[in-house]
């Protein structure tokens, strides 16, 4: 089973590293691949809570969008520098997650889920209404810039270079999340998912751990949000909408909540289907819904669960 996982992992990375070579032949384009990675990162981060901690986080688009706006605003008005913009987005998005997470951490079940949506919508309406700063419904346009190292330049304006930049950040974040889940702290999250009462009577202060997990999850969602803003050179209020949050959860469920890579798989299916189907029909969401229903009914462990079952 371990060799099988190793082979699958090597294949995944080989596939990701060679994307610019085959993506056009496969009928796609490099920016679409970047989008898969960015959205996949957000889905992996959301799944830290939904799949691994058993926490119904249905408002994660808020931190995704806040981060994208912060990146854009800083680059447009303050410092025209990609790394500074990226960092600003991550800091602001994570701070937002930490504050909201603190307020949410005492809630459970349906109350928690509804509160995450409600807080998410608060940020959506701020982005939508605050025309002077966010540009309202028209969104905010800005431009990602090359990174200057003095010795050389990383020309991020090129789609291919930006793809590899995204891939590097994605790899780093995925590695950090994998390490986290294998750590003693990560184990306490599994414990809380499995049985909160037992977790508490082992001596785990569950609310505090929930808060930390929420903040960490928002950190990685913020990374994705900043990258997403830079990818599109644009952010609009819809990136914070609760349907976007729902999409992240949907991807995790389709791909497989209990597997680490499942959400990336779900994101790939979702993003590619969105791109190809939306040019054919306005009702593309119907087909995504169909996939979702089929997975929930017949593959409770998602599509990744299918791969795991074969190996077992």
């Amino acid at each position: 089973m371990n060799t099988r996982n190793l082979v699958l992992g090597a294949l995944l990375w080989l596939l990701l590293l060679t994307v610019p070579l085959w993506v056009v032949a496969a009928g796609g384009y490099t920016d679409l691949a970047s989008r898969v990675l960015v959205i996949g990162l957000a889905a992996l981060a959301t799944n830290l809570l939904v799949g691994h901690s058993g926490v119904m986080a249905f408002g994660h688009a808020a931190y995704f969008g806040i981060s994208a706006y912060a990146t854009g605003l800083v680059m447009k008005h303050l410092v025209p520098s990609t790394p500074v913009g990226l960092l600003a987005g991550i800091v602001v998005g994570t701070a937002g997650g930490a504050v909201i997470g603190y307020l949410l951490a005492r809630l459970r079940g349906i109350y928690f889920a509804l509160a995450t949506i409600a807080f998410g919508q608060v940020f959506f309406f701020i982005a939508f209404r605050w025309n002077a700063v966010t540009g309202g419904d028209n969104g905010l346009t800005f431009q990602r810039l090359p990174i200057d190292f003095g010795l050389g330049q990383l020309n991020l304006t090129s789609s291919t270079v930006y793809y590899y930049f995204v891939l590097a950040v994605f790899a780093l974040c995925a590695a950090l999340m994998a390490v986290l889940l294998r750590s003693p702290f990560g184990h306490t999250l599994l414990a809380m998912r499995e049985n909160e009462r037992r977790a508490r009577f082992l001596g785990i202060p569950v609310n505090r751990h929930l808060w930390i997990a929420y903040t960490v999850s928002c950190l990685f969602v913020s990374v994705a949000g900043a990258l997403y803003g830079l990818l599109n050179n644009f952010v609009n209020p819809h990136d914070l909408h609760w349907t976007q949050s729902g999409d992240f959860v949907l991807m995790a469920v389709i791909g497989g909540m209990r597997s680490f890579w499942g959400p990336l798989l779900g994101a790939a299916i979702f993003v590619v289907a969105q791109d190809s189907l939306s040019s054919i029909t306005d009702n593309w969401m119907f087909y995504i819904g169909l996939i979702f229903v089929l997975v929930v009914l017949f593959l409770p462990r998602g599509i990744a669960g299918l791969l795991q079952r074969r190996t077992a």
């Binding site: 003693p184 599994l190 499995e194 049985n195 037992r198 009577f201 001596g203 751990h209």
Partner: protein, 252 residues
């Protein structure tokens, strides 16, 4: 000095007083059983000791420290561990993972985002010790949810032990068990008590478990202490016989 001293605790749920002014003192190394008919307030009393409920009145002193207002998870850190009447484990994780999490938390690693190789090895060594103590070695890699009821209960007791408690609280350890499993559980508890010198307070319905194990017994009835003494004294007590009459068959 007593390890646990409960001073006149009362628990009121609205108009109903489930536990009325009950006191209890448990010496280090003692195995103290709490028995009583259904609805006597045993579990409520127990929940106050472990911090699951706050008493309406009274005090709980653990090892000289008043813990009445201390949160449940902090009481664990002070050396108080408990199991539940309905087994509380992590069903979709393996026995090894269940015990591993308990050990990591007990060793103060719960906020560590990275465990060194040495820490992992130490955790696994402690897990192996617990697996052996509970005779769970054969099931180590199986999900706890798949195990027989008795083995799930043993896993839960081992998780409680992983926290290196000075006081172990067992809520009806033989609940829902057959004769063989009940016997095995009693043997395990006796070993923890005699060989590992653990101080144990247990609530039990099954008399067969109690009378062979306990040093002292407290009998609760309708939320009050009915009688207290050694197993022989309780067996001979007229008051206890009256309280249990007509209910004797149901419990066992």
């Amino acid at each position: 000095m007593s390890l646990l001293e409960v001073r006149g605790v009362t628990q009121r749920f609205g108009e109903l007083a489930a536990v009325k002014d009950v006191s209890l003192s448990v010496e280090p190394g003692e195995l103290h059983a709490i028995i009583g008919p259904n609805g006597a307030g045993k579990t409520t009393f127990f929940n106050m000791i472990s911090g699951f409920h706050q008493p309406t009145a009274g005090h709980i002193v653990f090892d000289g420290v008043d813990v009445t207002a201390v949160a449940a998870n902090q009481r664990v850190a002070m050396g108080m561990a408990r199991t539940f009447q309905i087994t509380e484990v992590f069903p979709e994780l393996t026995v090894r993972q269940n015990l591993g999490i308990a050990v990591e938390v007990a060793e103060g690693q719960r906020l560590k985002f990275f465990a060194t190789r040495a820490q992992r090895a130490a955790t696994q060594a402690r897990v192996d010790e617990l697996l052996e103590l509970g005779a769970l070695g054969a099931h180590a890699e199986r999900h706890v949810g798949e195990l027989a009821h008795g083995d799930q209960r043993t896993t839960e007791i081992m998780m409680a032990l992983a926290t290196r408690p000075r006081l172990l609280l067992l809520d009806e350890p033989a609940a829902g068990m057959g004769t063989k499993e009940t016997f095995d559980t009693a043997v395990l508890i006796r070993r923890l008590h005699r060989k590992h010198k653990l101080t144990i307070v247990l609530v039990e319905h099954d008399m067969r478990v109690i009378f062979n194990l306990a040093d002292r017994i407290t009998v609760l009835s309708e939320g009050e202490v009915l009688d207290r003494g050694t197993p022989d004294e309780i067996a001979a007590s007229e008051k206890v016989k009256v309280a249990y009459l007509g209910e004797k068959r149901e419990g066992s």
